[in-house]
Amino acid sequence: MKEYRFRIIIILAAIALSIYLLYPTFLDYQNNKHIQSVVEQKKQEILKQNPKISKSELEELLTIVEDSVKQSDPSYIENRLKRLKLGLDLQGGMRVVLEVNTAKLLEKLANNPDQVFNSLLAEAQKEAETSDESVVEILARKLQQKGIRLSRYFGNIRMDDAEIIDQLKKDSEDAVTRAMEIIRNRVDQYGVSEPSIQRQGSRRIIVELPGIAKEEEAKQLLQGTALLEFRLVKDPEFTYQIMERIDKALAKVLAAGNDSLLAELSDTTKKSDTTAAADTTQKQLTEEEFKQQHPFFSVALLDPQGRSADAFVKEDDRNKILRWLSLPEIKKEIPDNVEFVFSAKPISTTQDGKKVYFMYLVNKQPELTGGVVTNAVATLDPNTSAPIVNMEMNSEGAVEWARITGANIGKRIAIMLDGKVFSAPVVRGKIPGGRSQIEGMENLDEAKLLEIVLKAGALPAPVDVIEERVVGPSLGEDSVQGGLNSALFGYLAVAIFMIIYYRQSGSIAAGVLILTILFILSVLAGFKATLTLPGIAGIVLTIGMAVDANVLIFERIREELATGKTLKASIDSGFSKALSAIIDSNITTFFTGIILYQFGTGPVQGFALTLMIGIASTLFSALVISRLIFDYLASKGAKISIG
């Protein structure tokens, strides 16, 4: 036994780790079933109470129920994050590749474009479609051929052509950054779970939105220009008063509990809290009371010293607050001309990893909108070396800006993009001429972000959709079913064959094959990789090919037995002689996997990944696990039939 101890420990550790990595996936599956059943039950209830409810209303209510169930137990989300992710082709969703339209951007950037410029630009755009050269390069070449200096249209007269070309290239890259930020902001707002927004090369953005039901709405998110607004933030006293009124009204509504949905909400919050702090009963009671008496302040936390009325709100609570604010009883406590908005980026995270956002009360009517901003540059203040953003406005905007800043000295103005606050600086004094300096950023990155946001209003990034793939959820479900069936029956076919052909040895191989599949799935989950349909195909293929290593070994053992060696000696030389063939053949296949991964996109990469992981786990299973079983059985003197 002693000689096997080390190997047994390694194998058990590998199995334990696999189960640990796959356990969240299992829990998530259970949770989903639970959530589905709750939602279904609620649906029946609602239909009974109100049979004439419209489809969209019903859907909206059910989403609320679903959200509240999900939020009632933090482990739901935790498991969801750690589960084995399914690709867009399996769970349905949308993948869009966007490309910045450089030609349109150049048209916008050009000063006084004339007929010549426009026709050359059109030509350049056409040429760029079939060439590797960028529009900027082609246009520059065409202008040079005509003997026109680039400074005729771009930059200023002192810049030479090379400088301008560099500047234009940088501008087009900036446009990609801007488009990404706008898309990210909107996708966040839309509430897509686990979106992926990646940059590819210098001009492309890949957006993946899993599980989108209303794909057409989502497509709208990705295009069109962003809205930049400057809105006045209400002063702390006023905001506090409003919040207090909301708090009182809300406590009354919740106590009455006539709204079944709200009752449910307070129900679930209670449940999660009792589980969270069951040991501190005394403290728990007062917290519970506070929650009942001040439901609003229990989720919108204020600075205890009362210096500002910017409330801290946890990410999960944002939707809850929005729902409360939309109740008619609460609505009438808020003046018509103001509204609550959230910060775009989290300001901190709590100890348990929840993101915290600011909530502001701002005027509904913007003081100015983004069309007036002509430029923004993030830089370091030469005197204090603090990060700042210099913003410039056109003459029209500058006049307005001077009036607004003059009238609101000491107040704050929120800089908002698509309804979210990116910064809320204090007005120090009247700003004539439209050149403003914005301070108060933590670091240069934050300043850069503000620059992007300000420019998004000034110079929208024109993007084209160049590739678009939408998979409906029903096709995804069919694919999952097909994939699972293939894997199951593929396994059964191979296992039965192996057992018939190699008897006991075959059943060992068939058993070890289950572990191989377990390893593949757990490595995928552990690496946070995505399982796609071709990925499942990769697993099925691995099931077929995984036995190869075993077959090689068994055939060798048979040959060795035929020469008259003992079982133990045959096993030893069988394994060692088959080794070089197994290693060489698998390494070459592994290479093709790497290449496939490098060149492939999306689903194909998923296939390459499972293939590679499959090879690695096959080697481990055949060379370590099978070997151990054989050695152990042989040492016990057991006879292993090998067909």
Binding site: K219, G472, A581, F591
Partner: protein
Amino acid sequence: MRIFHNLNVNWMGMRKTFYILSIALFLVGMLNVAFRGLVFGIDFKGGSEIVLQFEKPVEVAKIRNDLANIGLGAVEVRTFGAETGILVRTELQEIPKEIYPKVVDRIRENINKILPEVPYKIVDSTMNSVTIEFDNPDTTNLMIAELFAQGFQTGKISEELDNKQMIVRVGIADWIKEVLREKVKDNPFQVVKEDRVGPKIGEELKRDAVLAVLLSLVVILIYLGFRFKFVFAVGAVIALFHDVLITVGLYALLYGLIPGLNLEIDLPVVAAFLTLVGYSINDTVIVFDRIRENMKIHKTMPLEELINRSINQTMSRTIITGLTTLLAVFVLFLLGGDVLRAFSFTLLFGIIIGTYSSIFVASALVVDYAQRTKKKVQFS
């Protein structure tokens, strides 16, 4: 149970016959590629493709008829999955110029239906979208909602409160859906899948795919050159070319001949080709490994005999692994669904041709090379 026990076949003696067979297969394939051509999916060609799921079974012929004269030229229509699924495909990226006015007219008609005689003007129209301006923001919002409900893809041009402009997307897929909604009124449908690939992306993908296959062959050449002798590496790589090209030929030959099997070259198929390369090389390496081993043991044995012996010794492994892999891939072919059918078909054929080529191409070429150069191939 055992098969091919103590096999003693003179494989190398038959190699001339199989050379002829291989060349014949290759020529048939290449002639088909030359004359019938290869059919690429929209991944490589660019174009639009939508899959619709109807509530009741539909006739492909009827849909084909419905879509024949809507100005999109040749539109491919076929069933997808069960008989309620329809796949519609066109190579076009955007609505052709000639029918563009028709599409705009359709939008006008619908606007008039919702609010008769509402004043509006078309302020911009590109190949992908039409921008329409109304008199006031409320009308705009109403139109956006109403037209959206009817299946148009509408949106605001900006989020400003006084926005008066509405943008309507007029892509190919939108137009096809619009036409079908009109013509197949009694059988509503859902969009199951919608793909659009730009021509530039298609070109890039094509280049990448060819590069990937070539690069993998080079990597294999280098690795085998190190692990075995260079002549073995060359033999193996020629065998791989043989496998890939014959399979490509098979694609050209069988396209459209087998109902339910759509042999178009798209991204998963390229993945299948690379897997085929991986499987075939796997097989070849195992034969070569035995040759290497036997060469060290039987230093004086003539090469032809030695290779025969190695092939015979590994034959039962070759067959068993081939069978189990075929089993698994065959299950995938049957149960994996429409999306994976061409993929698993490629592998089914690839496993057979890969096994064949590791004996009759890769090993046979080593024999021929050694005979030509009269050099002794040896491992120390």
